[in-house]
């Protein structure tokens, strides 16, 4: 790791620009009533981090309980509540908004040359809805939690538990609208507010990925909303729509629930893939191989993602015909994701690769997402799914793609754009250490779970047969290391706000309009509307720019 592409201004004379979006206005209200997409992104970043640590603490409790085969740390009912809340918080209050609401909100207008998103007030509303949903989720936890599993399967959730299903449902309902409004905003912005010269195929792939994810948010989330409404009606007045005793069908709940929840996983991963496209190009000094293929594969994932939901229901009682169709379609949906991995790999080929922190996380993503994705293929085949579903194999699969994939991409993105958002660089050595620690901790935590799953350990069980203990102990040990790996960024990123080196406009020598403005950017992003006159990831254009560039005056 000797070379680096980092190019910082002379630290003895460099200053953070005096006028930027942070210093423009002061006072709490100027943040709480802001329309500035960058400030809203920062608000989201703080709240999302908060919920990540709550979800993480719950994960810690799960792993602690699973150190021993008996259910000795907590009662099994409590354990059920712990993993349910872990799932709900991590999915709805961390993963779904993570990259879109923080990085997407911050960067999309900058990347396309716009002054803000199309609907700033809706953007702010989206944050308030997120916070309201989050507070309600915390209230649910404080008043006894919910123990149905994040999937709220009926008739358990409608008839057999006495826990806070309704409040949790309401929290998720509200958070869902937050997600819908974010997606709606992105779609309108990307269609209508690109600067002159910014054609669809000159947009960064980050924007394409968010566009695809936004389509899913807008079209999929409302179905979750109506499902929650029906569960609420079922629980309160017993309308009978999911109750077999009244002629209802519990499987209908699952159809409606998974119609959203499968696209939800693509909502979660696509923005992360967008980040990877950016970092892999920058740290290979090469344009992304097959730009068009990567752009269209994002949209393809979004479209195909709507047709595969019943692969979560293979053992639930759907017809054999449905199993066949959904299994086949699931095989197809793996193709666009694989296309991306191939294209990113070919981007690396003959590139000038350097190993700064974002690139370490990117490599982590490539390896771990590939493993997670391949195990998804085993699960998409109905024959093997019957044996592997509801075991730890599934748990390992989705943690590989979501944590090994998405969370690593999120961290890559946070580190990559941190200098742009704050004007300061984080300390490189410790951040690289954190990335390596995270990678090691992650593999130690979740790889044993694949083995546990194939050996037959079921998921969502507090107590398990003693022969599974050794692997569980490895997993918990890994979780401890992983926790350290996630704690470190909080510490050094916060430290860097005051003591980090001044980053300047473009510390990574990256292409992209966001790197051509000051760090942190002005409130209005661009004083003059930019004109996009070159292709995306055009490093030759960048070379020409450097020759003629005048550094900004603070």
């Amino acid at each position: 790791m000797s070379d680096t592409i980092v190019s910082l201004p002379d630290q003895s004379t460099a200053r953070i620009p005096k006028v930027n979006f942070i210093t423009k206005e002061n006072g709490l209200l100027s943040w709480l009533l802001t329309g500035d997409h960058k400030r809203i992104a920062i608000l989201y970043m703080i709240s999302i981090t908060f919920f990540f640590f709550i979800g993480g603490a719950l994960a810690g409790l799960i792993r602690l309980e699973l150190l021993t085969p008996q259910s000795d740390l907590m009662a099994t009912d409590t354990y059920n509540k712990v993993f349910t809340m872990h799932g709900i918080i991590m999915i709805f209050f961390f993963l779904v908004p993570s990259v879109p609401a923080t990085l997407g909100n911050f960067l999309i207008p900058l990347m396309i040359g716009a002054k803000d998103l199309a609907l700033p007030k809706i953007n702010l509303l989206s944050w308030y809805l997120y916070v309201a949903g989050g507070i309600l989720a915390i209230y649910t936890m404080a008043t006894g939690g919910v123990d149905t599993g994040w999937t709220f399967t009926t008739p358990l959730s409608t008839h057999y538990v006495n826990t806070n299903v309704l409040t949790t449902g309401l929290a998720v309902f509200i958070a869902g609208f937050s997600s819908i409004f974010t997606g709606l905003n992105f779609i309108v912005t990307i269609h209508k507010m690109r600067c002159p010269g910014m054609t669809w195929f000159r947009m960064p792939l980050f924007c394409w990925a968010h566009y695809a994810a936004s389509i899913l948010m807008v079209l999929g989330t409302p179905v979750l909303a109506i499902t929650i409404v029906l569960v609420a009606l079922e629980r309160t007045i017993g309308i009978g729509v999911f109750d077999p005793a009244k002629g209802g069908d519990p499987i209908l709940f699952q159809h409606l629930f998974w119609f959203y929840s499968h696209p939800a996983v693509y909502i979660m991963i696509l923005p992360g893939m967008g980040v990877i496209s950016e970092t892999i190009s920058t740290f290979s000094r090469k344009r992304v191989f097959g730009y068009t293929a990567v752009a269209f594969s994002s949209v393809a994932i979004a479209v195909f993602g709507f047709f595969v939901w019943a692969h979560h229901m293979f053992i639930m009682g759907i017809s054999n015909y449905s199993m066949l169709v959904f299994s086949l379609l699931t095989m197809l949906v793996a193709v666009p994701s694989a296309i991306k991995i191939f294209n990113w790999t070919f981007t690396l080929y003959k590139g000038s690769i350097t190993f700064e922190t974002p690139m370490l996380y990117t490599f982590g993503f490539m390896g771990l997402f590939t493993i997670g994705g391949l195990t998804g293929v085993f699960l998409g085949a109905a024959g093997t799914d019957i044996h592997l579903t509801e075991t730890y194999f599934i748990v390992a699969h989705f943690h590989f793609v979501m944590v090994g994939g998405m969370l690593m991409a999120f961290l890559a993105g946070i580190h990559f754009w941190w200098p742009k958002m704050t004007g300061r660089m984080y300390p490189e050595k410790i951040s690289q250490l954190a990335a390596v620690v995270t990678f090691i901790g992650f593999n130690l935590t979740f790889f044993p779970q694949f083995i546990l799953g194939t050996l037959g350990m079921p998921r969502r069980y507090a107590a398990y047969p003693p022969e599974f203990q050794v692997l569980n102990v490895f997993s918990t040990a890994g979780a401890t290391i992983l926790g350290v790996g996630y704690l470190l960024p909080i510490l050094y990123l916060t430290w860097s706000l005051k003591y980090g080196e001044i980053a300047g406009n473009n510390p990574w020598q990256a292409t992209g309009l966001e790197w051509q403005v000051q760090s942190p950017p002005l409130t209005e992003n661009f004083a003059v509307t930019p004109i996009m006159d070159h292709e995306c990831y055009d490093y030759e254009w960048l070379e020409n720019q450097k020759v003629k560039e005048v550094s900004s005056v603070g």
């Binding site: 998103l117 809706i122 709606l184 507010m193 179905v223 007045i237 009978g240 729509v241 403005v517």
Partner: protein, 255 residues
């Protein structure tokens, strides 16, 4: 060529200083011109309507499944609804869609009093729709056809005891099929209730709009709000256009 087009300068503090060209007050600064703003707002409204389509989609899915499974129960349930009120409500809503469309035309052609009249008519028709709905719901409550609130199977086990069932010439249902009428009414209340909720929200916004229209807010070139609300109102009309035959007109032909 590669001058400072893509590099930001420090901005002057007052964006209106230095020869800034005149623009309407309602142009938000992140838009280049009013056309872009109106276009973006319209597109955003359409996307919101897409979310509404998917929201109701879940209910329509449930309806289609259970109608297929429990057809006789759905027939019996549907016969409990009053075709006169249902048809009248449909006509009321279609007319309100017409008055709303006329309202948009008045806004576009800057006819303030015409716009206010059309909005008031739409408002009244909307209230009329809800009033008729109240009458219908009241009848359901009286006959204990509300799921979860002392739901009664009497009308379906003994059709002769029930005026509507007798008029439709219904035969008694088997006990288990009679129980499934509760599923029909669950969907009836869920779908019409959700629709009515959207009507109420729409009427509330209409009230606000009448107030603003009288002040001339929409007849000076800035028609976006009225246009986009019109889209919402027409969408609510479309939902009812489907709810009416699906709920009211199941097997109405005399046998």
């Amino acid at each position: 060529m590669s001058d400072s087009t893509a590099i930001a300068h420090a901005a002057p503090d007052d964006p209106h200083a230095g020869g800034h060209e005149a623009h309407p007050a309602y142009l938000r600064h992140h838009f280049e011109n009013v056309e872009q703003q109106a276009d973006a707002a319209g597109f955003a409204m359409w996307l919101f309507l897409l979310t509404e389509v998917m929201f109701f989609g879940g209910l329509f899915t449930a309806y289609l499944i259970y109608r297929n499974w429990y057809y006789p129960a759905f027939v019996a349930g549907s016969h409990q609804l009053n075709i006169f009120w249902g048809t009248l409500n449909t006509a009321v809503l279609i007319t309100s869609s017409f008055t709303m469309a006329m309202g948009v035309w008045c806004a576009e052609t800057r006819k303030k009093s015409g716009l206010v009249l059309c909005l008031v008519l739409t408002f009244i028709l909307g209230l009329g729709f809800l009033g008729i709905k109240t009458v219908e719901y009241k009848e359901k409550i009286e006959k204990h056809h509300v799921p979860g609130f002392h739901y009664s199977l009497n009308s379906f086990l003994n059709p002769d005891s029930d005026a509507e069932a007798k008029a439709a010439g219904d035969k008694p249902l088997a006990p288990d099929m009679a129980e499934h009428t509760e599923v029909y009414f669950s969907l009836y209340f869920a779908m019409t209730g959700m629709h009515a909720l959207h009507m109420i929200i729409g009427i509330a916004i209409l009230g606000y709009m009448i107030f603003r229209a009288r002040a001339g807010a929409y007849t000076s070139g800035h028609v976006t709000f009225v246009e986009n609300f019109g889209l919402y109102w027409h969408f609510v009309d479309i939902i009812w256009i489907f709810l009416f035959p699906l709920l009211y007109l199941i097997s109405r032909h005399p046998n």
